[in-house]
Symmetry: C2
Subunit: 312 residues, 2 copies
């Protein structure tokens, strides 16, 4: 049994995570990581596993390593929804981070088996109440939503390309979303508004029940009908690879909701603290290395430190 | 008597503000402001005036308008240290803000009478306990420090040019500083460290007792021997002109310390809240317009709003 941070007197509900599993090639100003486990669903489900039992829905190719499957299984992640498509290779992404890590370029992207991916939920997946729609094509996100029989809280992520090319389908997803989590650039593209506080209000007007705009090292803002919550980032002093920070944030956040069984404004604020802390671990190493070897103790310690930092 | 936010059962100590008084020409993507009152000492003393009686030390030329002098006097600012140099014109600065306001260029700068400015403190100024050294030449900041007979808390501001050209004198000022307030770019140049949490630690190693790194719309971080404090910015939705935001932040912060007579870590955190709120007013209008017509009620209202926003 993997260690978990538990809500008092309650067994965590499961979390369904849909997204990519990838082999990444990462170049940073200081080092490179070759053919390392990545993808939104890998980061998010590992992050969620510190709070609730994740069920992963995704696809890998014939080259997916047993070692990487073991990494996920050891954290208690249910892989009954992870298809192996023997006809091709796992999705790969090559990205380069520039000085200060605040800009990255995609140097290569091979969809491989991900190109034909169509999420099919089995009976067990269909009834999961907490769902994270990773940044896949909006039409696939809609296909997942249509298969859910008892969704309680839907978290949606997306990226620039879908905002630019699939805006209508994406807006339909957003209307069915409880919490949209995107970064400031994406929020600007989606709303046409570069002022973050205004962009946040526009996101709620698109029909999601709440929205978080992430600002990387500058923290994140939660826009909610009951108010605004602004959270600074955990101060990372050993940045190695920012890949997966956003997915880890979303996964840990949703995991915490599933652990507590609550989704109100105060619980969302607490969940953001955990999301921020778990994201801070992810960026301190390549791939999911820090996510898989960190214990609950370090998560609790950083949470306390962050709470002390933001207390007036 | 100008309205003030008072500490219970205490009369505020005075605040000494040394810096520039300027006529600015500001071009933003949406409007322009011509020949408008600006300069670090104008913004900082107006901001401080909401908490404590400021004494301004600076110089203006023969063109300084009676109307602008009245603006300062109406907020209870002592101008016995404001010299009028009839031999020339007031310092002028022309700056252009680009899209999103996060970059600005200096298009013209005429030091005029400011070139020969040498701060001379009269007997009244010399005993003021709370002192703001605005971003003038470090050698002049040292000259001010040498004239003080009972300094209790020294706040220092500086800009890129002094970091690049007067690094040794600046470091001497910093060693005599209780609180250094600079932005993230300046902190990077001063410490050679672009990671803000690390740069903050390096600033303390330079010998100031505490340091604040400002990040504009992303808030500010206080580095203190007792810990770190991270504060998001007040969410400004009507940005008109960012000029003077940093000076207003520093002025209000120091004014609050002078009002309470305390300079410990918890009081500094409270003072940052007020600094952030007063800076949010400054940027909503050109020049000092919003600073001179806002009442204490609006400052108190925004403070409450900001406190609600950051509460976990």
């Amino acid at each position: 049994m993997p260690t978990r941070i538990k809500a008092p007197g309650r067994t965590a509900d499961p979390v369904l995570v849909i997204g990519s599993i990838a082999y990444d090639n990462i170049i940073t100003p200081h080092a490179t990581g070759e053919n390392i486990l990545g993808g939104s669903a890998a980061y998010a489900s590992l992050a969620a596993s510190y709070f609730a039992p994740p069920q992963l829905v995704g696809v890998v190719g014939h080259d997916f390593k047993k070692r990487d499957r073991q990494k996920l299984l050891r954290r208690g992640i249910d892989l009954s929804g992870l298809t192996t498509d023997e006809s091709g290779k796992t999705f790969t992404w090559k990205g380069r981070y520039h000085e200060n890590y605040n800009r990255r370029d995609t140097e290569n992207l091979q969809l491989n088996v991900f190109e034909k991916f169509h999420p099919h939920l089995n009976a067990q997946h269909q009834v999961v109440p907490y769902v994270l729609l990773g940044n896949i094509r909006p039409s696939l996100q809609l296909a997942v939503l249509a298969q859910l029989s008892a969704p309680r809280f839907i978290v949606t992520d997306t990226i620039d390309i879908w905002i630019e090319t699939q805006s209508e389908a994406l807006k339909e997803v957003i209307r069915k979303t409880d919490l949209l989590i995107i970064n400031d650039t994406e929020a600007g593209k989606l709303t046409g508004e570069t002022n973050v506080p205004i962009a946040g209000k526009r996101l709620l007007e698109l029909g999601c029940r709440a929205a978080i705009i992430k600002k990387g090292e500058h923290g994140a803002l939660l826009f909610h009908p009951e108010g605004l919550f602004a959270l600074p980032a955990y101060p990372v002093t050993e940045l190695r690879d920012p890949t997966g920070a956003g997915d880890s944030f979303a996964g840990a956040l949703l995991g915490y909701l599933a652990a507590t069984g609550k989704t109100d404004f105060p619980t969302l604020r607490q969940a953001m603290i955990y999301g921020t802390v778990v994201a801070s671990l992810t960026v301190e190493a390549f791939s999911t290395d820090r996510l898989t070897d960190t214990g609950c103790r370090e998560i609790r310690r950083r949470r306390k430190e962050l709470l002390r930092m933001i207390k007036v």
